[in-house]
Amino acid sequence: MIVELGHYALVLALAVSLIGTALPLWGVKTNDAALMRMAPSASLVLFGLVALSYAALTKAYLDSDFSVLNVIENSHSAKPLMYRISGVWSNHEGSMLLWVLILALFSGLLAWFGRGMPQRLFAAVLAVQSSITAAFVLFLLVASNPFTRVAPAPMEGRGLNPLLQDPGLAIHPPLLYVGYVGCSVAFSFAIGALITGRIDAAWARFVRPWTLVAWCFLTLGIAMGSYWAYYELGWGGWWFWDPVENASLMPWLVATALIHSTVVMEKRDALKVWTILLSILTFSLSLVGTFLVRSGVLTSVHAFAVDPERGLFILGILILFIGGSLTLFAWRAPLLKQGGIFAPVSREGALVLNNLFLAAATAAVFIGTLYPLALEALTGAKISVGAPFFDATFLPLMLPLAFILPFGQALAWKRGDLLGVSQRLATALGLSILITIIIYAATWGGPVLAPLGIGLGFWLIFGSIADIGLRAKGHGVALSVALRRAVGLPLSIWGSTLAHMGVGVSMIGVACTAWGVEKIVEMKPGETVQVGRFDVKLEGAGLRNGPDYRENFARFIVIDGGRVVGALEPGKRIFTGRTMPTSEAALLTRGLGQVYASVGDVNPQGQIAARLYWKPWVLFIWIGAVIMALGGFLSVLDRRARIAAAVKARLPRAVPAE
């Protein structure tokens, strides 16, 4: 019954989303305020319906209702509570429903918080949001219905894909989806601006917090996914340039460009058309990401939903929204009033450079991901594009960007003084170079590029600190005054500083992987292997039972300087209802580095094959990402970014249109 209720709510949601698309848009066209006012109500009702539908599916999982096909295929009565809740989005249908839920949530939030916006823009934006919701609800109902019943119902479900039974599943997809779907808001704003024909600094101010929120979640989602792959896949890498990873990286890169270009637009009224294009591209790439993952068009380690028919449906949605929006862009963008003049050496000039490099880097990822498909389709030639290609193209595009970043941050708007900025950043640059030299000297004969990477990371960190310092200090001001001023700086400045420091921290973490130690060994119980500064001793092996799996595990103890500092118990799990074992790596964190172990076969001599790693400072990679996201959230909290505040400050009570 509850399942049918959820199904029905979804059908109703389709109707409401169609109404929420058509009537407000008609209102915008005919300047009918009553029709335009329907948009927020429709969006709120839509959210309520989708939430009801989602709750119904979750209830089916909680009750282990095996008359529902989706529950049979992805759940098991022995499954712990956490994996029943997260099991909802472990599969294609459920994750698409989560996607729609988040989309409806964003529309609802927009309907709630955006009331101070100009009426025409507000109605148009919400209508575009509703149209996206309509397309995906239709997709759910027609091609991926999660509420399909089965009669007779089996006694037991098939269980969750073992790779997905992990706390990572509970966190990674929702974070990533909030990021992907959050990009829809910028898209809707762009289409709204193209429809209403008006775009100005206030538009940038409205759209910026939404883009920032999406960007923060995308950052966290990607970092979480990377950490999950790192400890789950069992070979110790943290980024594989897998097509599905690339699918999440592309919107992130463009969204990064977008949050920078909206700053230029807000401050200097420039880059309007470019910002509109970026807004469209960000969400388009999110859709492409959804398509790549959901259609199975690219073979990758993530391809757990392979179904070309659904792929065709999503491809249709893709063509409709991307093609439609770009057509609208080509038609309407030239009509937008272009503004803004800038000198090349200025803050806005640096931000343009930032956008240029990010666009080129996105192109590298995009072409690298899709070129093999295109080439095979056109000529039949099969080539592979993997990590070595991306290392050779993506990095050369990102490293110069990192190098110029602190300069850009310190330059003034309109007309910057590069020489003066260089002088002010001399200490930061000098310190970074000094650190690089010291690392070279200390690790002579070791990695060649890694010390440079660390130096660059420190340059970003020191550059950001210097920027805050210079803003607070001024000429001959006492330290206490400077501190007070630093605290009083706008949150958006602290936010961008923090985010840029995060980039530096991640970069240091990545560079430090060069000093990682890897040992591939076969060990007998009682044997000890040296891994970096640690001695890792195999104590023994055993068999144990989890809630819904059996695990063969090996027990290692880790000795640091003659003292036992911890134990590692990597293993292989066989889940109930599945036959393929999954490997379970074990981690021991020491400081910011980790000892990492995974085990494989036992050979006829009774030795266990093991991979043991010492990864110094590896946690910096993800800590940096978290710092970036924190910076983004700080910026969102900035008074000036809040729509209500902006409206009070800027708009002296807009006259109603009627």
Partner: protein, 157 residues
Amino acid sequence: MGRLLAAVLFTLIAAAPALAVRPDEMLKDPQQEQRARALSAELRCLVCQNQSIDDSDAELARDLRLIVRERIKAGDNDRQIITYLVDRYGEFVLLKPRFGWHTLILWAGPFAILLIGGVVVWRQARVKRVAVADAPLSPEEQAALKRALGERDITKM
């Protein structure tokens, strides 16, 4: 105790997939082994999804790893080994495709975008700067500016 556990383990996990590079495959000479690992990271496991033979558990990946190590032992250099493998398995085996007409867009595309974008921005900035310099304020604008600045003589600022 250890023997018993090992025996238990052997019967239980012998069927499980192996770890990628196994110790028995590795070359004695650490320098040669390092070369083999570096080469393996650039070669695709043909039956896998986006995995290098260095990362893959598949049997075929193991065969390729062994071939790479045999060629190294036979004294081939890296280029010869790559050619050897491409001759047998096609360019599909390379994770970093060769530069050529068929991969021109792939390799040059991103940098071309950077270049073209750079030229466009540079030209735009130049055109606009000239335009600014050539457009002095109109008398009305002068007057408006004067009012805004509180009747101060703007020529002295």
